[in-house]
């Protein structure tokens, strides 16, 4: 039987067969020691690559890859949820909250499974881009600290905001949402500045019932981008369901229901 260091090393070297690799991944996801060993050996192997003469593939290679991806047989990963690690999120947040003294990057923990919903918003609204984030076990101790959850959520939103500066100049955005506290942040970029009397308005769709919830106006004024906090009235979150988000352009006063055109969303409406 292999020890943890042996398993981690064999994993990094690509020596395991498919079943063994899956088993190690499953174990590493819940075993910080194994995860740390993979991290260490992976960094060592990565360092070895820096010792190789740097090479760049010909420019045709990317085009060939993309042609393969466009074939009907190529895998299309869109419908799959993607998991990010707490460490990755924590790294994002740590850059922002450094100095606040948040020892653990604490997130929501509703029911058995902590979840932060991250939805990418696009202008065509036909492309489902929704990411589910699952924290590691180290977050459990602080999971009930609402203030820590809020700071973590804000930090993630802000970090993503910085990262998205490098995105192509097209209308888009994202929403990060904590179903446990019913708080979130929504970011928009490259939207058309509103004319007099028009307002952008955020709506949240309950993942199970489909009920619409008013998340408020986006006070963009004359700007074409912004990052905004929103909070919904307390409501028991439905476990295992993912909310939807969309932004409409409304006339004047606060609407009771969306009446204007949908500008951004993450699912067809």
């Amino acid at each position: 039987m292999k020890t943890k260091p042996e398993l981690a090393c064999a994993y990094v070297l690509g020596e395991l067969d498919d079943a063994e690799q899956r088993a190690v991944e499953q174990q590493a996801a819940v075993d910080p020691e194994l995860h740390a060993l993979i991290d260490d050996y992976g960094a060592g192997a990565q360092a070895a690559l820096t010792d190789l003469p740097a090479r760049k593939p010909s420019s045709a290679v990317l085009a060939q890859i993309e042609r393969r991806l466009d074939r009907p047989t190529a895998s299309a990963p869109i419908s799959h949820p993607t998991r990010l690690h707490w460490a990755a999120l924590g790294a994002m947040a740590a850059l922002v909250v450094a100095g606040i003294g948040l020892g653990t990057f604490a997130w929501l923990h509703h029911g058995q499974r902590p979840v932060v919903v991250l939805a990418e918003l696009s202008a065509d609204r036909t492309d489902l881009k929704q990411l589910r984030m699952e924290p590691g076990s180290q977050t459990a101790a602080a999971a009930d600290r609402t203030d820590a959850r809020f700071i973590g959520l804000a930090s993630l939103a802000e970090r993503l905001w910085d990262t998205s500066r490098h995105s192509p100049a097209q209308t888009g955005g994202y929403a990060v949402f904590d179903p446990s506290t019913q708080q979130g942040f929504v970011a928009v970029r490259h939207v058309t500045p509103t004319r007099s009397g028009k307002r952008y308005h955020l709506w949240v769709v309950d993942g199970k019932s489909g009920a619409l919830r008013d998340a408020g106006e986006l006070p963009l004024e004359a700007a074409n981008h912004g990052l905004f906090f929103f909070s919904l009235p307390e409501a028991p979150p439905e476990r295992g369901t993912m909310p939807g988000f969309f932004i409409t352009l409304e006339d004047g006063a606060t609407p009771r229901a969306p009446a204007g055109p949908v500008v951004l969303g993450h699912r067809p409406f």
Partner: protein
């Protein structure tokens, strides 16, 4: 502890992989721009031929696209995930080649290593500083350990194969490889601090 810039890059890359998992082609191109030079260098070193390496590089990134949604950073850093995927793809290609050449005297990948493409000067310049530290760490290893590590890392051989080839106990080889990886990691960390 890794410096913030390093953590920032890991976080950005984890975010890119997540976006690829959601079908974002722009994120895919971004990750390709970051990862293709080192993974291409790895493929050339393991396969010994730039043309073969480009074909394998295609396979690697098609797999990155197809499996990005499975990436779980609870398991590894984004680059480690991609590197494991690349190594497995290279090892598969080597085995396929060995099967195709069965019965023939095989000229090893090392002999074919001199390929025709010129190095990319900008990438080489970017890597040069790291290489000096890592090379120093590698050179500091005892000769036997260094040889074993290079065989395992770049010749596509398993630790068991290297143990048999050089007549070392398997446990010794495994221990040397792990120690060597930790030494290299320390060299890289020194460079980054």
């Amino acid at each position: 502890m890794s410096p913030p810039a390093h953590q920032d890059r890991i976080a950005e890359e984890a975010w890119l992989v997540a976006r690829i998992g959601a079908g974002d082609r722009a994120a895919f191109r971004d990750l390709y721009a970051r990862y293709s030079p080192p993974l291409f260098a790895l493929a050339i070193r393991m396969l010994g031929d730039a043309r073969d390496a480009e074909e394998v590089l295609q396979d690697i990134f098609v797999k990155v696209w197809a499996h990005a949604h499975e990436y779980d950073a609870n398991v590894s850093r984004p680059f480690t995930w991609a590197m494991v995927l690349a190594r497995r793809t290279c090892i598969d290609a080597l085995r396929k080649r060995q099967r195709a050449r069965a019965g023939a005297t095989e000229d090893t990948a090392r002999a074919e290593h001199e390929d025709t493409e010129a190095p990319d000067p900008s990438a080489a310049a970017m890597a040069s500083d790291d290489r000096s530290e890592v090379r120093g760490a590698l050179d500091a290893l005892p000769a036997d350990q260094r040889r074993v590590l290079e065989q395992v890392l770049f010749a596509g051989k398993s630790q068991a194969e290297v143990a048999a080839e050089f007549n070392y106990p398997l446990g010794t080889v495994k221990s040397w490889v792990r120690r060597g990886l930790m030494t290299l990691k320390a060299g890289l960390n020194r460079e980054q601090t």
